[in-house]
Amino acid sequence: MPGVVINIIIAVLLCWILFITIDIIFRLPEKGGVSGANAIGTTIAAEKGSLHGGFMMGNIVCSPDASAGTLLAACGVFVAGIPGGLIAAVLVYIGNRICHDPGYAGTTGALCATFMVAGFGLIGIPADAFIAGMVIAILTIQGISHPYASHLLTRLWRIRA
């Protein structure tokens, strides 16, 4: 039992760092990709939040980005190893195109996550820990406090910009 929990905590930290880094590298907080993402960003900003962090949260809602790529790649590796992760990356790209998005962030996230999950599988952290870890990581951004999360994302975006 303690081993499983420690694996999940390590997976949360790795997933959080991976998807935030890739999303910020691909300039998700810069602007809303579609009008819905813009609307979510301005709504969060209007309630003591921050605009750029809100745009990034809107983009996560409106299109499969690196966080979705990480989750689905972890699911793919859990089911079928590295080929499963690559299948997930292709399907994430198709999903991105359906959602009117260029699709670079999601596909890159899925590819990086495939090799991350497979690599850490070799040293004893199983793929199901990464699935739970990604669910907790997205909970910390989207589910607990929108004002705090958006301010944190804006602060990280200022380092990049």
Binding site: G3, I8, G143
Partner: protein, 88 residues
């Protein structure tokens, strides 16, 4: 044996608890656009649950189809609230 549990099931329980938490937050939130953000957390958790419950390649496809479909729906609802295509 209500309190019996298996350590290997902990990731599944985490997904279930997060999904329940997200649903409660959605029900107590008033603004539709903020509901969509919380609903996104539920979509992540349910996708995890689908794949963790049935470790099969077809369940992977079902999970991805569920996730992409729900994202597309959120996108459509948010864009409609923002004024639709005329506002882009």
């Amino acid at each position: 044996m209500i309190f019996a549990y298996d350590a290997a099931m902990i990731p599944t329980y985490i997904c279930g608890i997060v999904a329940l938490y997200a649903v409660i937050r959605v029900l107590t939130e008033k603004k539709t656009l903020k509901k969509l953000v919380l609903l996104n957390v539920m979509n992540f958790a349910i996708t995890g649950l689908i794949v963790l419950s049935i470790p099969d390649i077809m369940a992977l496809f079902a999970g991805i189809a569920y996730f992409v479909g729900s994202t597309l729906e959120s996108n459509a609802i948010a864009s409609t609230f923002a004024g639709g295509k005329a506002n882009e």
